[in-house]
Amino acid sequence: MFLETAKVVEHCHFIEPGAEIFHLLTLSAPKIASSAKPGQFVMVRVGAAILDPLLRRPFSIFYQGKDTISLLYKVIGKGTNLMTTWEPGDKISVLGPLGKGFKIFSSEPQWLVAGGAGIAPLCFLGSRLREKKVSFKTLWGLRYKIAPALMGVIQQKLGDLIIYTENGSLGYQGLVTEGVKRLRQEEKPEGIYACGPLPMLKALFRWTKEEGIAMQVSLEANMACGVGACLGCVIETKEGYKKVCRQGPVFNAEEIKWEK
């Protein structure tokens, strides 16, 4: 874990009519980059002299370069909105790598299932799986299509993906949870890694349970410290509250009390 003053190396804004908007921020942060593992995240300070927004914002590591980390993010509120103004050369305080990452399942094939910005930790994981020559497939659910340039970046890291969009503007029309069912007719995965909105994860969990498929999920919670000090980011598990920032963000889906 390091507190590093990172420099913005590149900032791409994937904006296109009718497409879901994503931003890709690449930061030079050698210490964090060299120790990060798939599924870990960083906390980025958004304001500096200004105190609104106050807290750091958590982002999964989307991919790792030699001395750099890249974050793929969507604009949600005032913090991410301010981030879009960052330009190459700007200096940013980054804390990381934080949390526990994914544990690679021992048998194949494996599936990566993402919803929206949930692709971020899975992209890093997928590139690691490729290095390790683990056979896997990726399903990504979106609301609308995305800019082809972003698709290029992701395919380069992850290989081919199966895309579902809610409006059918890219890939199959429908939800990614329908996609897993369809793909299941082709193969049974030995393990699933998932990241996305809570309703998607809940639906996936119900299905994997029926099917008897192991799943690891990367979860989100409001965070203040990111290091286990404030006890603010708990989720309810079968063994009581656990800290998403420290004992997660990746959990075995079985552990989580999904009804909460």
Partner: protein, 306 residues
């Protein structure tokens, strides 16, 4: 340029510098040990402990507000026994003062905590009579001078350690409460704790916190805390640890100038884990710039125009 002296004595508690980290914002110290040289801190106030472990409130426990943070942790903690066994040995390695924040639901709870921690060996106790998150007690003790004094007494009877009572800001007259706890034997007061607060998600129309309400901290509170401390110091001339929205050396200096003898950095640890260290350096720079040799020259030095 010569060295400046940063050492202060707050009641009977001697600190090598007046900058501590506040309870609940620095865990049990170990969470930040990789990032912060704990030896440099004036002191560490550990997360509030109760006799028995507490699981805390349901999530969500945090909401960010304008220049503030509302938390409803619900005083989750591992209990005093596990703290003494698992956390205290680690903390003892460092050259800094360990102050333990305690809370309970009866005078007996407080007395028991004081006795156990005194036997275990810590440097001071901070008595939380003010946590607004918890329904079962806390608030009650802190808003009434008689109960506040009684808790203080219960603690002081069980310990010879320096005792600081941590006050809630949600009272009509904080001077009255401060006076009561000092007369009951406290070395000083820590002020302020978080302010009861709430936030609502307008689209779901539900409270944003699992516990409905929580406690507000952060820079939004600083002007309120500063005013209260000034009132307490000028009325009672007692040792105060200033807390509330300290993000920088300049903020800490405001507290020292109005008369706090030490300060605690809270929410700022989350924003920049090295805040306390930067505050120490910044105070030193300030003293040099203004040609003061000793921090004590500025404590309570506010110039009130006639």
């Amino acid at each position: 340029m010569g060295k400046v002296n940063l050492a202060v004595k707050v009641g009977r508690l001697e600190l090598k510098n007046p900058v501590l980290v506040a309870s609940g914002t620095f865990g049990y110290g170990e969470e930040y040990a990789q990032l912060v040289d704990l030896n440099r801190l004036g002191g560490i106030v550990v997360k509030g402990l109760s006799l028995e472990p507490k699981i805390g409130n349901p999530p969500p426990r945090l909401v960010e507000t304008s220049c503030g943070l509302i938390n409803a942790i619900g005083l989750e903690n591992i209990g005093v026994e596990r703290f003494i066994k698992e956390k205290l040995p680690f903390l003892r390695q460092f050259e800094t003062k360990i102050i333990v924040n305690i809370f309970g639901y009866s005078f007996k709870d407080y007395a028991g905590l004081a006795a156990k921690l005194t036997a275990a060996g810590v440097n001071a106790l901070e008595v939380n009579i003010s946590c607004p998150n918890i329904k079962e007690g806390g608030k009650f003790f802190g808003t009434d001078p008689t109960s506040a004094a009684a808790v203080t007494k219960a603690v002081c009877e069980e310990t010879d350690l320096p005792v600081f009572v941590k006050l809630t800001p949600q009272v009509t007259d904080i001077v009255e409460i401060a006076q009561a706890v000092i007369e009951a034997g406290a070395d000083g007061v820590s002020m302020i704790n978080t302010f009861p607060a709430m936030a609502v998600d307008i689209h779901t129309r539900r409270p944003k916190l699992g516990n409905i309400t929580g406690g507000l901290s952060g820079p939004c509170l600083k002007p309120i805390a500063l005013k209260m401390i000034w009132e307490v110091v000028r009325s009672l001339h007692i040792p105060v640890m200033g807390i509330g929205g300290i993000m920088s050396a300049a903020d800490a200096l405001e507290y020292l100038i109005v008369g706090a003898q030490a300060v605690q950095v809270g929410t700022a640890n989350f924003v920049n884990p090295r805040t306390a260290l930067e505050v120490i350096d910044g105070i030193e720079d300030y003293l040099r710039l203004h040609h003061f040799k000793d921090i004590k020259s500025i404590i309570g030095s506010v110039l009130i125009p006639k």
